[in-house]
């Protein structure tokens, strides 16, 4: 395993794909903070205090796509160019090969997050001054959640990248999965966040408007709410949304769910890879 990791890290250091994605993350972090600075100038400090935090964590919303691209291009090349065969005849166990891919993917995902957050912090400090620190809520649970999300994405995208010899197909499938997860996560979170009551303005006989609270038809109740809550807890994108929301507090269920899912996906991938005939 150590030999595999050291070989892959050396390759990683020279990988255009890896550094290209890291650069994209850095640019994304800079752009997010530049946008936050622009909005602060137009909308005032209060806007920064309520929304600045989510701009800092914006990279997490795109984490799935970065992991998918990294896995498909970097790890997928191992399989598609046949280098995986060289490792097998060199006596490496399939389990080690798979776990090495998993570790690399998770590590790269965390590195991409850092690549976005560090420039973002620097830019924020320069553009917004000390007000930035007040806007941020860097609670440790948020970073633990980021770790759980990255582990989940690594476990998910390792599957096609390692098991599919066709790199292009693995890439398309990974990006599709990332997109589906993002849309589904945003949808479940949106539905759950719908308020129970909504304000309605009722026209009175004297021409004035009366403001009254009425039940919101979009509000989920009963079994539907339970299903959506479960889906939300299982969604990496929903957890990323929670991480990026300053008002959210720590809930242990979603990260634990994601870790369990990552474990299951890894077990599934390993079981298939152990039996797979490699051409």
């Amino acid at each position: 395993m150590t030999k595999l990791l050291s070989a892959q890290l050396r390759r990683l250091g020279r990988s255009v794909c890896f550094w290209g994605l890291a650069a994209c993350c850095a640019v994304l972090g800079l752009l997010a903070m530049a946008l936050a600075a622009y909005n602060t100038r137009n909308l005032g400090l209060l806007w920064l205090l309520s929304q600045g935090h989510s701009y800092f964590f914006m990279i997490e919303l795109a984490a799935g796509f970065f992991s998918a691209l990294f896995a498909a291009f970097f790890l997928g090349e191992d399989r598609s160019c046949g280098a995986l065969r060289n490792k097998l005849w060199a006596g490496h166990a399939r389990r080690d090969l798979y776990l090495c891919h998993l570790l690399l993917c998770a590590g790269a995902g965390l590195f991409f997050t850092l690549c976005s957050m560090l420039p973002s912090l620097l830019a924020g400090r320069l553009l917004l001054g000390p007000a930035l620190w007040e806007a941020l809520d860097p609670a440790p649970w948020r970073f633990a959640c980021i770790l759980a999300v990255q582990l989940f994405y690594a476990a998910l995208f390792c599957l096609p990248a390692t098991l599919d010899a066709r790199q292009a197909r693995a890439c398309v499938l990974s990006l599709l999965l990332a997109a589906v997860l993002a849309v589904a996560g945003a949808y479940t979170t949106g539905r759950l966040r719908a308020p129970a009551l909504q304000t309605q303005m009722v026209l009175q006989s004297d021409g004035s408007f009366l403001r009254e609270e009425v039940p919101n038809a979009a509000y989920l109740q009963g079994n539907a709410r339970a299903v959506f809550t479960a889906l939300d807890a299982a969604s990496p994108f929903s957890l990323s949304l929670r991480t990026a929301d300053r008002e959210e507090s720590f809930a242990p269920l979603p990260p634990l769910c994601l870790l369990a899912e990552a474990g299951l996906l890894t077990a599934l991938g390993l079981a298939i890879f152990q039996k797979q005939d490699i051409q």
């Binding site: 050396r10 090349e77 280098a83 006596g91 039996k275 490699i278």
Partner: protein, 303 residues
């Protein structure tokens, strides 16, 4: 005799189709083992099994005496190098970078000897050129160089001269011979280019439809190959009549050429042919080739 690789009733099935059907094979230490068979006979499947790319459906094999089901088969695999079908390498790296990468995969302590390895396979002048821009011959050489990282003592080459130009074929052949003679590397080389194989191999395994048809040494093959006399005549029809009357076994090759599996008295044969109005132009003694021997064992038809 010491064997590097033996297989015991090895079976590999793919959805009901048996690519290997009870294959028994024995590769002696120090041999260049020519693995001969048609396309689809099961040559590459066997190589994939040995390399750990696939698992046998039944039966087994031993590599350096270690059965494939034991965990330490991985240790035995570290003593081998392989090129399976197409050479595998990272296309965005140079030849030297690829060798360094393989060194790390093998856990070698340093990169010493890699330049010499490039020199050995004739890739010393490729510099920083990326492997994706290599010609087919250069790719084959890089594949062999990768297989040689870590000084293996068993080299598995699957169709190593496929797609090479004549000069490339000669160079690869000389390289294999050099490795076998100077470094005592045992080589398993699969090919359907029989003429090429006959210039290299010290042992042969002839496979057909997943079964070993015959295993023999080069000496045994030489003894098994029948002597024949190749005749060039003006017309093979009168020749056939004369040979039939003489009760000789023969094979008509064309309208003017035939092979006789006997030692005819040429003066008598020429006189008999002359009476039939046929002229004898030349007679040449030949050994039956590996190709003819192979065809006599497995037949000339296609699957």
């Amino acid at each position: 005799m010491d064997y590097v690789l033996t297989t015991d009733k090895l079976v590999k099935s793919y959805r009901g189709f048996k690519a290997l059907d009870g294959l028994d094979m024995h590769i002696p230490k120090g041999a260049i083992y020519g693995f001969v068979g048609k396309n689809g006979a099961g040559k590459t499947t066997l190589i994939r099994l040995i390399c750990g790319l696939q698992e046998p459906s039944a039966g087994g094999f031993t590599l350096y005496g270690i059965p494939n089901r034991r965990r330490d088969i991985a240790k035995a695999r570290r003593r081998m190098g392989a090129v399976v079908e197409t050479p595998s390498f990272y296309p965005d790296m140079s030849a030297l970078e690829n060798l360094k990468q393989q060194s790390l995969i093998l856990g070698l302590p340093s990169f010493t000897g890699l330049e010499e390895l490039l020199e050995l396979v004739g890739l010393e002048d490729t510099g920083r050129k990326k492997a994706r821009n290599f010609s087919l011959g250069m790719r084959q050489r890089l594949g062999i160089a990768l297989a040689l990282v870590g000084d293996p003592d068993f080299l598995v080459l699957d169709e190593p001269v496929n797609g090479l130009d004549p000069q490339g074929i000669v160079e690869i052949r000389e390289l294999i011979l050099k490795l076998n003679r100077e470094q005592q590397i045992t080589v398993l080389i699969s090919s359907h280019i029989l003429d090429e194989l006959s210039r290299l191999a010290t042992h042969y395994g002839i496979i057909d439809r997943g079964r070993m048809v015959k295993e023999l040494s080069a000496g045994e093959l030489e003894a098994a190959c029948r002597k024949c006399v190749r005749l060039e005549v003006s017309d093979t029809r009168p020749l056939a009549r004369v040979l039939d009357r003489a009760g000789m076994e023969y094979r008509i090759l064309s309208g003017t050429a035939a092979e006789i599996y006997a030692q005819p008295k040429l003066s008598q044969l020429a006189a008999a042919l002359s009476r039939e109005g046929c002229e004898l132009f030349s007679a040449q003694e030949r050994d039956e080739s590996l190709e003819a021997y192979y065809l006599s064992l497995v037949g000339g038809g296609h699957d």
